[in-house]
């Protein structure tokens, strides 16, 4: 079943065209890796899918679970099952992570016509997901990402993903800033949360090492705002050996 269909997507930032006719289809149950040089438009793809203001779609279409994704507001995309793991998770002073996540989870549930999570049920869920990522619950209660190290921020992103339980996750360089142990924990976390029937992942990365844990079904090269090459897991190895230029 097709989960995400991106067709000839064009988007610009600050009047500058970045995505220039990007097409990609992701089926439920699949994990796709996107690799590509800096400035290729990988993060722009993530933000455009997430509906970030300032990322203007000038052409093409995106269908998510049979719906026109681009017609939805950012919070509606989340409620529809989209999760964006940020390359640079944002610090939000004074806003407790646990409080915001409970509100966010319940806003999503409300939008889907589900009952809200009680305080107790939320805490139990949060504890489970924090434990999965070996993160201290106290960190989750602190202001969102404030004072977290780069690696802690990425781990916290995955705890958020576990709590929100999305159908589809775009993970933007979630592996950068992680040490070897954290990389394994995050990789296993991604598998536990997302490698399930009816779910799919778009994994943006520069390195094979994350793909050793989260085995992709497809690997794409994004360069100059479009997908220039697609292959199986072996393509990632080839890219690591030869670089993007030779592979593209």
């Amino acid at each position: 079943m097709t989960m995400l269909q991106i067709d000839n997507l064009q988007a610009e930032v600050a009047g500058k065209p970045i995505l220039k006719g990007l097409s990609l289809t992701v089926n439920a149950g699949e994990i796709h890796a996107i690799m590509g040089p800096n400035g290729a438009g990988k993060s722009t793809l993530g933000y455009t899918l997430g509906g970030r203001p300032g990322y203007a779609v000038t052409g093409g279409s995106v269908t998510f679970d049979g719906r026109d994704l681009l017609a939805l507001a950012p919070h509606e995309r989340a409620a529809a099952g989209l999760f964006l793991g940020f390359q640079y998770p944002v610090e939000i002073p004074g806003v407790s992570g646990a409080q915001f996540l409970r509100e966010a989870a319940n806003a999503q549930r409300k939008a889907r016509g589900e009952e809200p999570l009680s305080g107790g049920a939320f805490l139990k869920l949060a504890r489970e997901q924090a434990a999965l990522l070996r993160m201290d619950m106290d960190m989750l209660k602190r202001p969102v990402n404030v004072g977290f190290s780069g690696g802690e921020k990425k781990r916290a992103e995955m705890v958020q993903m576990g709590i929100l339980d999305p159908k589809f996750a775009v993970l933007d360089e979630t592996d950068s800033g992680l040490d070897i142990d954290a990389l394994r924990i995050v990789g296993e976390g991604i598998n536990a949360i997302m490698r399930r029937p009816g779910k799919a992942v778009l994994l943006i990365t520069h390195y094979q090492r994350l793909l050793d844990y989260v085995r992709p079904d497809f690997v794409h090269v994004l360069a100059g705002g479009r997908i220039v090459r697609t292959g199986g897991p072996e393509l990632a190895l080839q890219l690591e050996e030869q670089g993007y230029e030779a592979a593209a």
Binding site: G51, I92, G94, P143
Partner: protein, 244 residues
């Protein structure tokens, strides 16, 4: 005998941004309430003018005494809170103020903090959130007298504008005639962090909820450590609802 002081004009520094029309109806102002905190004593007061107007408080904080004033200025078309604070030796003063304005409201916190003897500390934090065509002003004057060595005076004034026609004025003023004085002050006027808002939205919060969370956190900085901080935060959140 001198008569009542004439109605000030906007040429007077302390009334530079005042709503003189509204002030005229209240003129002459009653004398400030005067509170003397005895040496070693402590005092706290929450000021929440429920219909605006001018609230005036003069505080004299005795040797080694502590005083904390928290202000939630959000009601009435014109709300002005004037504080005149004198710190004696090693006294301590905290001001935490929040102003939440919408429509055509003019809200002001005008403080004069005088360190007249050595070793006293003052901490002033004012957070304003302004929507519509509201004006929020914070004039904070800190005067350190000759001989008031070792003074530590901090002032942090920040405002967030929610609409293009809203205005914030922040003017810290320092007069220092002593030695070994630590005076930190910062003031900033800005908008809600767009990146933070998108981050919260991307997790499923509708925009108004995302803004409410961030604004409540911003305002809460003014009430950190307040005895009845929770009540003030709740009142502030209720007012925020009306702003959004």
């Amino acid at each position: 005998m001198t008569g009542p002081a004439p109605l000030p004009t906007r040429k007077a520094e302390a009334f530079r941004y005042a709503d003189i029309g509204a002030l005229a109806k209240l003129w002459p102002l009653p004398e400030p309430e005067s509170v003397v905190v005895p040496a070693g004593g402590s005092f706290s007061r929450a000021i929440v003018p429920d219909a605006g107007g001018v609230t005036r408080l003069a505080l004299s904080i005795g040797k080694g005494a502590k005083a904390a004033v928290h202000v939630l200025n959000c009601n009435g078309d014109y709300g002005r809170v004037e504080l005149d604070v004198t710190l004696h030796e090693s006294a301590d003063f905290t001001l935490g103020g929040a102003q939440l304005g919408a429509g055509t409201q003019t809200l002001e916190i005008v403080s004069t903090v005088s360190h007249v003897e050595p070793g006293a500390t003052s901490r002033q934090t004012v957070r304003s959130v302004l929507a519509g065509r509201a004006t929020g002003t914070c004039l904070g004057r800190v005067a350190v007298a000759r001989g008031a060595d070792g003074t530590d005076a901090a002032q942090s004034v920040r405002a967030l504008l929610l609409d293009p026609a809203a205005t914030a004025n922040a003017r810290p003023e320092l007069e220092i005639f002593a030695d070994d004085v630590k005076c930190a002050h910062g003031c900033a006027v800005g908008e809600l962090d767009a990146q933070g808002l998108f981050y919260l939205q991307s997790r499923g919060l509708p925009l108004p909820d995302a803004r409410r969370l961030m604004l409540a956190a911003f305002i809460a900085e003014a009430f950190a450590g307040a005895g009845d901080g929770e009540r003030l935060e709740r009142l502030a959140r209720e007012r925020l609802e009306a702003l959004l």
